[in-house]
Symmetry: C2
Subunit: 339 residues, 2 copies
DNA sequence: CTGTTAGCGCATTCAT
DNA sequence: ATGAATGCGCTAACAG
């Protein structure tokens, strides 16, 4: 580890003319110590630049003061937002987060999860992920666990998520209100996200909105991508190739919307004059597309903050009920009124 | 920590009818053990689902098997790319990374750095950051240290970075080659990035290219932003307000280029017909702008991989020389030929 | 090859 | 209020 000469609690006990235990006491603060000794200890600590050995602390106390965070894909704006929220919330606490990245690959995720557990985290925040419910459930018996951005029925109290169906419903309704009748939807295969059905819920919201508006959903207008930009580009090609007329597209996420946007551009189709476009996620760049994209804002940072708070509450055994998260439809220039 | 009944090395020693040390030996593998005992131990481990206590291990061995990574801004594509590279490289090793985020705020960075050190990391990778050189230098005496995406003169052997000046020079030359003479540049204040002068080096590359081409640099055509998208938008306004004619803009990063792009769009200026635009970073979305943006690719993932490898080498005391990183000009549709 | 022993640095009884 | 003693779970000499 560090090459620096390790100064231990003994050293400062010596220097401050007190016992080891006394030093430990001023450090933890949970036992009364005479003011004079306290200051002496503090002085010694300062002088010798003492830093307690975290491993010894944890070994002796049985607490690691770390929160494990299992995430997917560093670099995805939504997940990064969640991380930021977690970081912010944990900052003023004695707990610090350690991250593991599952990269949306079950095997990788499993290893990451294992690593976190092995590091004796005091709490675990699982953000998304592919792990089967039973596994998560099993972990939740061993360690305080919060699931963010994913719904696990048997663990409802500890799940924070967003009502994707309602959000998609609202987005589709907006297109309908603007006079659109032929609205395409770019989704992803149901199995794509494994146990996560966000995307499927968005599909359901889309269908519901159409149905309630008396519009017969047209299966030909629903195409699948894999949530990547590239797949949006290809989905658009498929859509155009199907020869079904449409005046608007609702994409299940912004990444695909961005790909679709480029596809339209290449075909000389203008947004929104020829085709209106709505995405989902409110990724930062969507506000800077030309024209800026209408999309659905998911409160990522808030979600992260709440998740962190929830895990702290859980550790301190005063579990709070979790409120559901509301989304917001961000209306920008990419939708035109028809007729 | 975990509520699970902790099974210790003793338990499995018992079950396998061997001594604690033998178990430790099969675990670490760095000492010969009789095949029969080994299998017995392995069986016991498996049966009792034993996991070594990492804190006890570290405390006893003096190794933490962790690499600290100080990063700035989760969510920034360039930095995230570096993280991904680090993750990938460390995955097959016994080391696992722990991250700290400085958020480009000196105070936050200091705390994050401190936390990492306190966690007894065996090595430290500093990605960017504001900490003064002396501080980094001081840390480097205590712990194997690699600096990525930043140049620290007194620590040259342990720094991995990119030749920003040359990259900017190349980008500007490209615009000149395409016939542009009035090329604006959007940069950031020299002090903005604190000790990091990436941005300033890009400015220098720009100036050099102009000068070599016999074009008198026009100070009026250089405006400052703060590297954010929003600031790109404002920079463009300033540029237009200055009434100086220009046919091309070279932005010091893609974020600002994206803002500039939107500003041009709002003013009805087409890219590249009216104004050509070049960015820097090759952020993923730039390929999906309409039209796609010409930019400079920084090999973020490779940089992360190399950094991780370098720190491993450093820990094992077989330091390797670090090659410089080459950038690549990604030419896309946002530049038009003039005259 | 293997068991025994002695700490690693600290928190936490238990006395005082 | 404080010092002494014990042990957290494991690694690393040290003997055999």
């Amino acid at each position: 580890m560090s090459k620096a000469a390790k100064v231990t609690i003994q050293d400062i006990a010596h220097k401050a003319q007190v016992s080891q235990s006394t030093v430990s006491r001023v450090l933890s603060g949970n036992a009364p110590v005479a003011a004079t000794k306290r200051t002496a200890v503090l002085a010694a600590i300062d002088e010798l630049n003492y830093r307690p050995n975290i491993f010894a602390q944890s070994l002796a106390s049985g607490q690691s003061l770390t929160i494990g965070v299992l995430t997917q894909n560093f670099g995805n704006p939504f997940y990064d937002g969640i991380l930021v929220g977690i970081l912010q919330t944990l900052e003023p606490t004695p707990y610090s987060p350690i991250f593991g990245d599952g990269r949306w690959q079950l095997a990788v995720e499993k290893r990451a999860l294992r690593t976190l557990i092995d590091r004796q985290v005091d709490g675990l925040i699982v953000v998304g992920g592919l792990s089967p419910q039973e596994e998560i459930l099993a972990y939740s018996r061993d360690v305080p666990l919060i699931v963010a951005a994913r719904e696990i029925p048997d663990l409802a109290d500890q799940c924070l998520f967003i009502d994707n169906k309602k959000a998609a419903y609202d987005a589709t309704c907006y297109l309908i209100d603007m006079g659109h009748r032929h609205i395409a939807h770019v989704t992803a295969p149901m199995y794509y996200h494994g146990p996560i059905n966000d995307i499927f819920q968005r599909y359901q919201g889309y269908i519901q909105a159409l149905t309630e508006a008396g519009i017969e959903p047209d299966p030909q207008l629903v195409v699948e991508g894999d949530l990547s930009r590239q797949s949006g580009l290809m989905a658009l090609q498929n859509l155009v190739a199907s020869k079904r007329p449409f005046t608007a597209i609702f994409a299940a996420n912004d990444q695909m919307a961005i790909g679709i946007r480029l596809g339209l551009y290449r075909r000389g189709l203008r947004v929104p004059e020829d085709v209106s476009l709505v995405g989902f996620d409110d990724e930062p760049t969507t506000a800077y597309l030309t024209p800026p994209l209408t999309t659905v804002r998911q409160p990522a940072i808030e979600l992260g903050q709440t998740a962190a708070q929830a895990i702290l509450d859980l550790i301190n055994a005063n579990q709070q009920p979790c409120d559901p998260f509301d989304t917001e439809l961000i209306i920008r220039e990419s939708v035109a009124r028809r007729r």
